[in-house]
């Protein structure tokens, strides 16, 4: 919010004026109202510590995060460039494999990971699009620039919170959105529906959203998206493969399904091909997919590109397929299978963050400066045992934003996850996205399962 010379940046002036008029009581009331709106509407995710599970809300912070239209333009173009290149990469990896033949990436980095889905080899997908829906995690470092932290190309989530946060802001800050000329995001579901529709040759394809069910922690999002797009929400048990097509079991008989937006991991998709113990998927769906009789969104096998090991090659990927310099840069990442890099990293543990290449949700990582000696020792042991399973990055100074915590405003670290959708007519990025907050003081961990919250994100029109 504040620039390096300690003045409130232009875009926040109006907001500061408005907020400074509110008393503590007003702010508490606004906070309570937002919590109540979330709980009443059932905008919850379930945490399973016991059999029943507790429903929690993803904490919402009242103070919006603002991005200027100039800052946004760079982010938008950067993400479009990145997704375009990554999509070419995935196609290449499952077909000619030119990037490997030209020595840019070694075969080990592709074939030895769990994320390479061999069933996708030579499988033709509509319009050659694999990453229809992507969430790219960005942070702003202490040089004021945005960097890409991570790509999420499999089943990225958070869109429903982005939409819900905007609805709540409209309730608790009436009129302010107009005054600030904030770009609307409410047409995201319609845009998504149209992009999905563009993948089929039919005029009126039957599109469904495949969910693991009510016990999945992101169920609220599946249900909301299905409702806002006007498509049927189905579970694996509602679908059946017959005569090389996928059908849904309706009360009056079977109805053909053309496009499936699936929020189920690759490994649970088809028990005949992947994990045979899965009851979430549909048996034989891959054979229908191979025949081209159903479209799967996102395509299986995208995990090969959001692997933390491939992350460090993305700048080269952009250069190789698009012949352009990356608009958005990566964070400098150390490859620990390289002994020199490993040595450097071990000598500077307190300045480093370690991550497992196949980890997610903030688990399996170590932040050097906030860990005990014993924790570090144990972690390093695991790293030395299997160095190619780990990467390291310098601890970042994430940008902060004022958050209303414990009845006063205090800085907390934030990140940004814009969402990009790709159809036969190109890539679109929703203005803003989800801003996640690390609610614990001094923490850098923003994930929902580990004490994270979110804010409404505004991209200005001018």
């Amino acid at each position: 919010m504040v620039s390096s010379d300690s003045n409130v940046r232009d875009q926040y002036r109006l907001l500061k004026k408005i907020f400074s008029k509110y008393s503590k009581q007003d702010l508490n009331q606004m906070q309570d109202l937002s919590n109540k709106l979330f709980v009443d509407q059932g905008v919850t995710f379930t945490v399973y510590n016991d059999e029943k599970g507790t429903e929690k809300i993803f904490p919402f912070d009242l103070f919006p995060r603002i991005i200027t239209s100039k800052e946004w333009q760079k982010i938008e173009y950067g993400i479009i460039q990145r997704i375009k290149a990554i999509n070419f990469f995935i196609k290449d990896v499952y077909n000619e494999k030119f990037i490997i033949r030209d020595g840019i990436i070694s075969p080990n980095d592709i074939f030895l990971t769990n994320n390479f889905v061999k069933e996708m080899n030579s499988l033709q997908v509509p319009y050659d699009i694999y990453t229809h829906i992507a969430g790219v995690d960005l942070i702003r470092n202490n040089d004021g620039k945005f960097y890409v932290l991570e790509d999420n190309l499999r089943t990225p989530s958070g869109v429903s919170y982005m939409l819900e946060n905007r609805e709540i802001s409209k309730r608790i800050l009436p009129g302010i959105l107009n005054a600030n000329k904030v770009r609307s995001i409410m047409d995201y579901p319609l845009k998504l529906y149209n992009k999905l529709k563009s993948l089929s040759q039919k005029n009126n394809p039957n599109i469904v959203l495949l969910t693991p069910g009510i016990f999945n922690s992101a169920y609220y999002e599946h249900s909301t998206l299905a409702r806002l797009m006007g498509v049927e929400l189905v579970e694996g048990q509602d679908l059946v493969v017959k005569d090389n097509f996928v059908y849904m079991k309706n009360a009056g008989g079977l109805k053909r399904v053309d496009i499936i937006y699936r929020r189920i991991d690759d490994s649970f998709l088809d028990p005949l091909v992947f994990n045979s113990q899965s009851i979430l998927g549909v048996a034989s769906i891959m054979s229908v997919y191979r025949k081209g009789n159903v479209v799967l969104v996102n395509a299986p096998g995208c995990g090969i590109a959001d692997d933390k090991a491939i992350y460090r090659f993305v700048p080269e990927i952009i250069k190789y397929y698009l012949n352009e310099d990356p608009i958005l840069n990566n964070i400098k990442t150390y490859t620990l299978s390289d002994p020199d890099q490993l040595e450097y990293v071990l000598n500077n543990v307190n300045d480093m963050v370690f991550k497992k290449t196949d980890g997610s949700g903030g688990y399996g990582m170590l932040i050097g400066r906030s860990s005990t000696e014993k924790e570090i020792k144990n972690y390093i042991k695991a790293v030395k045992n299997n160095p190619q399973n780990y990467i390291a990055q310098h601890t970042l100074s994430l940008s902060t934003s004022p958050c209303y915590v414990n009845e006063k405003f205090a800085p907390r670290c934030i990140d940004l996850r814009p969402f990009a959708i790709m159809g036969s007519d190109g890539i679109e990025v929703s203005p803003g996205g989800l801003t996640r907050v690390a609610l614990n003081e001094g923490s850098l961990v923003v994930n929902s399962s580990q004490g994270g919250g979110s804010k409404d994100t505004w991209v200005l029109n001018t």
């Binding site: 009443d40 509407q41 509602d238 079991k249």
Partner: protein, 308 residues
């Protein structure tokens, strides 16, 4: 519409209807206990809702404890807390098919009944206040369904569940309540008994208008079996069921001339052409048991036709 979704909508409303019926029974039973001054048996409730035959209420020391059990016991399938949780679970699975108002109300109902605050004795000294607050959510559900739910497939499946449950409740009421309760010979107590009985099924005003104040078993039987204007009567429920089955068959492309339709029509004729007010006690009991059995078969047939 997916069979699973249809099933969830059906049960969402069935559970809500059951909750409404049970709460009204509890309320009237408690009031009649207070008026009589002695601990009247809660047998009917335990028998029809919990399938328990023996003198279950003997283990509780007073009515308040029984009410606490009936509302809050998490182990029994038909306690209010479990019924509302089940209804909410079903609703959550089909959120996209019901209006937002319906979902929010059921969710709030669930949050209310599972909150720790309402169990505090200080909040609800009189159980009637708690029951009335709970019933408010049921009433809101009826109005939400009426006003905000569009008249499509989901609406008809909801009504299928609602009216089937109401049928079961009404027939059970006649079998367990009316024919089992010993009516007091004292005329004042007798009137209080009838009034509470009628209030528990929501039929007090209709009865008075139709039969004036002569309380007779045969009149009550006629009211609940075949009064076409009483919303809880079996004939009324059957009419509504027929209407919704017709719509469902059209929406889902099912033959109009199926078993479910046939069974409902048969039951309807049976009711229309039997002079129930001329049946003696034993004959009446047999007749009611026969109707109950037919309603059970109807439930089974509905399940087979739409949900499998």
């Amino acid at each position: 519409m997916l069979s699973r979704v249809a099933n969830n909508l059906f049960w969402m409303d069935r559970y809500m209807e059951r909750t409404n019926g049970l709460l009204n029974q509890i309320k009237s039973n408690y009031i009649s206990n207070r008026e009589y001054g002695d601990s009247k048996s809660w047998k009917m409730i335990f028998e029809s809702y919990f399938n328990i035959d023996e003198e279950y209420d003997a283990q509780f020391t007073n009515s308040e404890e029984i009410i606490n059990y009936l509302i809050f016991d998490s182990n029994s399938g038909n306690s209010i807390i479990n019924l509302v949780s089940s209804s909410r679970k079903n609703c959550r699975s089909v959120q996209e098919h019901v209006s937002k108002e319906i979902w929010i109300n059921i969710n709030k109902y669930y949050l209310f009944v599972t909150s720790k605050i309402i169990r505090k004795k200080s909040k609800y000294k009189d159980p009637i206040n708690l029951i009335e607050d709970l019933l408010t959510y049921n009433l809101l559900h009826y109005s939400n369904s009426d006003l905000t739910q569009e008249r499509g497939n989901p609406y008809s499946f909801m009504n299928l569940g609602k009216y089937l449950e109401r049928l079961s409740i009404s027939v059970d009421f006649l079998l367990y309540r009316l024919l089992s309760d010993k009516i007091e010979s004292d005329s004042i107590k007798e009137n209080i008994f009838w009034k509470n009985l009628l209030l528990s099924i929501g039929g007090y005003q209709t009865y008075i208008k139709t039969y004036k104040s002569s309380f007779l078993t045969k009149n009550l039987v006629e009211l609940i079996l075949s009064n076409p204007d009483f919303p809880k009567s079996i004939l009324y429920c059957l009419k509504k069921l027929k209407h919704h089955i017709n719509r469902l068959n059209i929406f889902n492309g099912i033959s109009l001339d199926n078993d479910v339709f046939y069974m409902i029509s048969k039951l309807e004729s049976n009711l229309k052409f039997t002079k129930s007010n001329q049946l003696k006690n034993d004959q009446l009991r047999d007749y009611l048991e026969e109707i109950k059995a037919e309603i059970n078969s109807l439930s089974y047939k509905v399940n087979k036709t739409y949900f499998e």
